[in-house]
Amino acid sequence: MNQTIVTAVEEGNLYEIEELVNGALASGEAPKELLEAMMAGLKACGDRFEKGEYFLPELMGAGDAFKAGMGVLAPKLRAGDQVSQGKVVLGTVHGDVHDIGKNLVGFMLSSAGFTVVDIGVDVSTEGFVRAVQEHEPQVLGMSALLTTTMLGMEDVIKALKKEGLRDRVKVIIGGGPVSKKYAEDIGADAYGNDAAQAVSLVKGLL
């Protein structure tokens, strides 16, 4: 595995990743192997976050470096090179603009090979429903930081049922004020206590 690429993503070297990927491609390295190196870099960054060695700016840096590297790599990848573990739509519920937790979950899932569609913050009930219809994910993840906004999660689940989508998507919820009991009460499939749990939680649902 190309350790230089691993380290560049892990350390969020947004500024040099494109050169490095281009250089590796020019020297004959396979795009699929470079993709695996970038994924390993993301995972290493996530591991360091879990250990308390890395913080938000480092995670964002690694995510940006991964995206920049993919910008170079994507056109070179063949169909089948990017084997996704599954697709997850993530968003923060209406009235809530906190996205740190959601971003962390997205980061963890991406680094584990899931295709993550982040639909942002302050997402309306209709916005979640539209995203499920459009992207057809296996899992929908909703986040809230406020006790007042978490109530919107139940609205989304009801709307998914009304639209006949509930059986086609697993729903996970997370965020400071949310609990396992609340997940059960509103009919979610699972509750994640922190971002680190996200990968095993989603894998367990699929």
Binding site: F49, G52, F55, L56, P57, V97, T147, S179
Partner: protein, 397 residues
């Protein structure tokens, strides 16, 4: 408060000479110097959901009417029996002047106002942020509410809370962009060579971060001046940068890239503000005490951002070390019952939790303050009162 020294002297005399039960504020003040009669209790009124107190109140009304805030505060004081009931306004982060500086907040009836658009989109916008000449809008309303509370309830504790440079920057730039500005600045200043610095510049302007922080430092200083001009005291007031701690940034980055700006605000205010810095572990609380500025902070010993169980309870193994540290520093340990736990725990669970923490404080002769900083939907004022009654039952020294 009419006269802090007088209240403290009165409280100390009453306590020493056993001249009757201390009032809540007297207990709080005595606790700053010695062990009072029992553990004290504190409620942050601002985080009690308005409709739990009275459904006539909502955030649309409360962000417009000073009288509504004062009326609701009076109702909270009547219904919640805590030693100190403080922070008498319900405006979300609109209280700190960001709305007047260009941050657009969304205000809905049943949700705390939240920022949806930020005035600093590029470096050129920083210069457009004015240094306010006078308090206006929601900032003025917050000042006026504090003054009126002080007038109406001279025995209450009015503690001014103002955002510091980092938290102001988060409100003016946004919590997505600012960490990336910091990252670019950090990478740029730590780059080994010019070639790397040139590469960094191609992706993001590294000068944005220091420019924003210079501006928000000046704004933070200006806001403290306006508070004083409004007749409010900075003594005991808090300089809040709650988003400059983990997991937003490392402690090292805090000291290198945020702390110097906060020190400037602290010094400009005659070192009268409380420059607290939240920590996620007893070890870091101890380290704070070695810093010449953070070491002067009160309220350092709190479980506010400690790791929690899924139920919302602070990891219990952290309590004893924090009590030992607080006692050694002649401070109190602020034990917060988090909103999530208050909402979900049964009365028996609350009883066990409060009994455990009070017993530990009594046994170790540590000044304990039990805080409730959030009464969310699904909880109730009665449940908050139940916690405070438990402190009265178990917390006598």
């Amino acid at each position: 408060m009419a006269n802090i020294a007088l209240t403290m002297a009165k409280g100390l005399l009453k306590h020493k000479l056993h001249l009757g039960e201390l009032t809540g504020v007297e207990r709080f003040m005595v606790g700053a110097l010695m062990l009072p009669d029992r553990a004290s209790t504190f409620l942050a009124a601002t985080n009690v959901e308005p409709d739990l107190i009275d459904p006539r109140f909502d955030y649309e009304l409360l962000t417009q009417s000073m009288e509504a805030n004062l009326e609701l505060f009076e109702l909270v004081r009547q219904r919640v029996k805590a030693d100190v009931v403080a922070v008498p306004y319900w405006m979300g982060f609109m209280f700190c002047g960001a709305a007047e500086l260009g941050t657009r907040f969304k205000v809905e009836k049943r949700r705390v106002p939240y920022p949806v658009d930020y005035p600093i989109k590029q470096k050129a916008d920083i210069d457009k942020i004015p240094l306010p000449e006078q308090a206006t809008g929601h900032l003025k309303m917050m000042f006026d509410i504090n003054k009126e509370v002080q007038r109406r309830y001279p025995d209450s504790l009015v503690m001014l809370s103002l955002d510091g440079p980092w938290d102001l920057a988060m409100l003016l730039r946004g919590d997505r962009e600012l960490p990336q500005d910091l990252r670019a600045y950090k990478d740029f200043t730590e780059a080994k060579d010019q070639a790397t610095r040139d590469k960094i510049r191609r992706f993001r302007d590294p000068e944005v971060y220091p420019a924003i922080m210079e501006k928000t430092t000046a704004v933070a200083i200006r806001l403290t001046q306006l508070a004083e001009q409004s007749g409010l005291s900075l003594l005991g007031s808090a300089l809040v940068d709650q988003y400059a701690s983990k997991p937003i940034m490392s402690r090292e980055d805090y000291f290198k890239y945020v702390h110097p700006y906060r020190v400037r605000v602290w010094e400009a205010t005659g070192k009268r503000m409380n420059p607290g810095y939240l920590v996620p572990s007893p070890k870091e609380a101890e380290e704070n005490m070695k810093d010449p500025v953070l070491g002067k902070a009160q309220g350092t010993f709190t479980n506010y951002i400690f790791p929690q169980t899924p139920e919302g309870l602070t990891l219990p193994e952290y309590d004893r070390p924090m009590m030992d540290l607080a006692r050694a520093r002649k401070q109190s340990y602020g034990y917060m019952i988090h909103g999530k736990y208050l909402r979900d725990a049964t009365e028996a669970q609350l009883d066990a939790t409060v009994q455990r923490i009070c017993n530990m404080a009594v046994e170790t002769r540590t000044n304990l303050m039990v805080l409730i900083a959030s009464v969310p939907p699904g909880a109730s004022v009665e449940k908050a009162n139940y916690v405070f009654q438990l402190v009265e039952k178990y917390g006598r020294y």
